[in-house]
């Protein structure tokens, strides 16, 4: 053993080794607050009630004109008004995506009960995911350019564009001074952000991280999915034989993550859930379609389980990526078969209610998983009518179900062949975490 010094930085014990490497002692990471902007409610309680009740947020699109597109429905967050959550200056500085992110961040911070001072300084970080970020800002700039030429492009709008701004706006608002990072991982972005945020804490680089993801519904994005023939007419029916595709949605799901030491030191913290292992692979197969044998997805789920220190039989429920497309749901069913064998672990897709909120999807769904962990409620897959032999899984059909609820998986897949799975658990239901450094072991 070549340990030389034990140093305590913030709330993390760090072993300095003779060759210069630093390995932090194993750290549990907890979710202590969540905030939601979605088509089925603002805030945790409204969101949980809607999920449990099987409420659909899919309604006719109002944000833009869809009359020529052949599709007209989406999961729009119509109840969200930025000025209810942000200052006038903040509203002016941001596009809708950042506005939703900051509003959800404020809800999450309030839910966590964390003192504002604990979020200030270099030990607090912000890590966010998205697919297209401030798409409305760019859309406005583009439209001005197209119709009025370069002279019509307003200089003041330009600095408002860029995915990098999502965590910047939150960091400015809360006074954090650690990492500000955007991980644009398309439809898996929420899981990527949560996984990386947990790793930042485990590595000893942060005590508290505000994380999650945000996405807004935007005209070009909507049109593009229609042109990909991926959009269903009016309802999203994951795992159903007659499923016709996805329905886009929007929203923001933000979580406050804290190290065990940080959360327990401030006695007011409620431990909503523990973040377990995070699995991540890339199909390297096709830019939009999952690998037909789901090799990468299987690998990501195995990683999430193994990195949580458990075996598949410990998993009580799987929140599916469940987009409602032929390829996705079939691939995901193969993953379930490969991982769990003949054991039918209940699976459900919140996208049947929320729509596919793109980058925000797996962050919102991670929060939905907390409903399961807290109350033992499996949110339903609404609109499920006809079983598909190709999707031989135990779908929580149409009505919420109660069941074991100690450990769940949050599954996500994305453009670019991204696969990401996060294990979430009731506090202290997971075994002691493994050392952060797998190289040291």
């Amino acid at each position: 053993m070549n340990m030389a010094i034990l140093r305590v930085t913030g709330h993390v014990a760090t072993l300095l080794l003779r060759h210069g490497a630093r390995y932090t002692a194993p750290v549990r990471v907890f979710i202590t607050g969540v905030g939601v902007v979605s088509s089925i409610g603002l805030g945790k309680d409204a969101f949980f009630n809607s999920l449990a009740g099987g409420t659909s947020g899919i309604t006719p699109v109002e944000a833009f004109d869809v009359k020529n597109l052949g599709r007209a429905f989406a999961g729009e967050a119509k109840g969200f008004r930025a000025k209810d959550h942000l200052t006038a200056l903040e509203v002016r500085r941001m596009g809708r995506c950042s506005q939703m992110a900051l509003a959800a961040a404020r809800m999450a911070i309030a839910d966590s009960g964390i003192d504002a001072a604990a979020l200030k300084g270099p030990r607090a970080a912000v890590v966010l995911g998205t697919t297209m970020g401030e798409a409305d800002v760019l859309g406005d700039l583009d439209h001005a350019w197209i119709h009025k030429g370069a002279a019509g492009v307003r200089r003041a709008w330009i600095p408002k564009y860029g995915s990098t701004l999502l965590p910047i706006h939150i960091a400015r608002a809360i006074g954090s001074e650690g990492a500000v990072l955007t991980l644009p991982a398309a439809c898996a972005a929420g899981n990527y952000a949560i996984g990386f945020a947990a790793d930042l804490i485990r590595s000893g680089k942060a005590d508290v991280v505000v994380t999650g993801a945000a996405e807004m519904l935007q005209e070009l994005q909507y049109s593009g999915f229609v042109r990909l023939a991926a959009m269903a007419p009016s309802k999203c029916q994951p795992f159903d034989l007659n499923r016709q595709g996805l329905i886009l949605g929007e929203g923001a799901g933000i979580l406050v993550l804290e190290s065990e030491a940080h959360a327990t030191r401030r006695k007011a913290a409620t431990l909503l859930a523990e973040v377990g292992g995070h699995g991540m692979t890339c199909d390297a197969y096709h830019i939009t379609r999952p690998h037909p044998d789901a090799i990468g997805s299987i690998g990501a789920m195995r990683q999430a389980i193994e990195r949580s220190g458990i075996t598949p039989d410990a998993i009580d429920f799987v929140n599916a990526h469940g987009t409602g497309t032929k390829h996705n749901d079939a691939a995901e069913s193969k993953v379930m078969k490969d991982i769990f064998g003949d054991r039918k672990v209940p699976i459900s897709s919140m996208k049947s209610m929320l729509g596919h909120c793109m980058g925000a999807a797996s962050a919102l769904e991670a929060i939905g998983c907390i409903l399961t962990l807290e109350r033992g409620v499996y949110p339903p897959t609404i609109g499920y009518e006809t079983p598909d032999p190709e999707c031989d899984v135990d779908v929580v059909a149409n009505v919420a179900r109660s069941g074991a609820h100690d450990i769940v998986l949050n599954n996500s897949l994305a453009f670019g062949g991204y696969n990401s799975v996060t294990c979430l658990a009731k506090p202290y239901k997971l075994p002691d975490p493994p050392p952060f450094s797998r190289r040291a072991a």
Partner: protein
């Protein structure tokens, strides 16, 4: 940080394509301000007679990728895939496009870009508005998604361990290192090609021109700060990847080591009353201090700072002041003065240039913006300052004997 061995470099930038071309070009590189404007090929510049843009010269992806499958890829994707392929070959992981070391399941990608999907979004927006959304080319739609270019890198090069995109503005290239470091430490991969890219497009140029940051700025006049000719930012494009490996993996396969990444630091500092666009001297200072602590390198042991100074005084002055707060007398160079402002690729390009100097290459005098050149370079700090109050730094050292 556990040292990360840099075992390969793939690059396409204003000096050309390929590591040897880059290293050779760096030796006697000239400031863009001293060069005549070069012809622009990526878009029609007839509307912008004063456009000063730096492109990758004679970039021909078919030379490296063949001529199949390129039709629907945007310029950024082509640049990044070429850089990735060159990097994997330079690292000896691939030869003649076949795997000769490691396996696809243990090699991943971390890729930064700031405005990667801009070209595709503006192109498809134009189709939707001037024709009809029904005429959007579905094969091009994936290019509008920020991580698309990085995803194509995995597809073309068969990299399955992981693929992570980072969008962190100017700091993205260095922040990608922080991600790769964690992924290597947690054994998600044995090697990660880590880098970034930014491609020239009319929309990107127009945005920066409208912001009034592309020089020379009429009426303001040039001024000199610490040797920097200011008000003369040129927008550039580039793509670069470094192959990062944990030492035991690199040693086990007998890999050549170009240099070692040994420290990383980042900081965000924007006072409440500050404007949204805000370059932070304090964040720069803290990022460098954190990177040196992470590397366990004393300030006095730093031989060279490779800055992100690009000719824009609002940013350059704060960055240089932050550098001087920690490293008051160390020589500072600015590759962007010869390569252009390459945004999400900038940090990677800075690290790539550092590898040349850690290997003993001479430093062109046009790159120097402060301090006296050291007799030898053993430790380099690479810095990036963001537009919104963030800053990052990475410490590299010469390869161990």
């Amino acid at each position: 940080m556990t040292p990360r061995f840099v075992t390969g470099l793939g690059i396409a930038c204003a000096l050309g394509t390929g590591t040897d071309t880059f290293f050779r070009g760096l030796v006697d590189a000239k400031r863009l301000s001293a060069l005549p404007a070069s012809a622009v090929t990526s878009f029609d510049v007839s509307k912008y007679p004063d456009a000063r843009i730096v492109e990758v010269p004679e970039f021909d992806p078919t030379k490296y990728l063949g001529d199949k499958g390129l039709r629907t890829l945007d310029r950024l994707t082509k640049l990044l895939v070429v850089a990735a392929r060159l990097c994997l070959h330079d690292a000896g992981i691939k030869k003649d496009n076949l795997w000769v070391a490691l396996t696809p399941e243990r090699v991943g990608v971390v890729c930064s870009n700031a405005y990667g999907s801009l070209e595709a979004i503006t192109e498809l927006d134009r189709v939707a508005k001037l024709e009809d959304a029904r005429y959007i080319n579905p094969a091009k739609f994936p290019n509008t998604v920020s991580n698309s270019a990085s995803g194509y890198v995995s597809i073309w090069e068969e990299l399955r361990a992981l693929n992570v995109s980072v969008s962190d503005g100017n700091c993205g290239g260095l922040d990608a290192v922080a991600c790769a470091d964690i992924f290597l430490e947690t054994s998600r991969a044995d090697a990660i090609i880590t880098g970034g890219g930014e491609a020239m497009s009319e929309a990107l140029f127009l945005a920066f021109q409208k912001l009034g940051v592309l020089g020379p700025v009429t009426g303001a006049g040039d001024r000199t700060t610490n040797g920097t000719v200011t008000n003369d930012t040129r927008l550039g494009e580039a793509a670069a990847f470094l192959a990062l490996e944990v030492p035991e993996v690199a040693r086990a396969r007998g890999a050549r080591v170009l240099g070692e990444i040994v420290g990383y630091g980042t900081s965000f500092f924007a006072p409440e009353e500050s404007p949204l666009v805000y370059a932070s001297r304090e964040a720069m200072k803290r990022a460098i201090t954190a990177a040196l602590a992470d590397a366990q390198v004393a300030a006095g042991d730093v031989d060279l700072v490779v800055s992100s100074v690009a000719g824009l005084p609002q940013l350059d002055d704060e960055e240089l002041a932050g550098i001087r707060d920690v490293l008051p007398a160390v020589a500072v160079v600015a590759p962007k003065l010869v390569l252009g402002e390459t945004l999400g690729a900038g940090g990677t390009i800075g690290m790539a240039a550092s590898l040349a100097w850690l290997g003993g290459a001479p430093i062109a005098k046009d790159l120097i913006v402060g301090g006296a050149l050291p007799s030898r370079v053993r430790h380099v700090v690479v810095t990036s300052i963001g537009y919104y109050g963030n800053a990052s730094a990475v410490v590299l050292r010469a390869a161990s004997a």
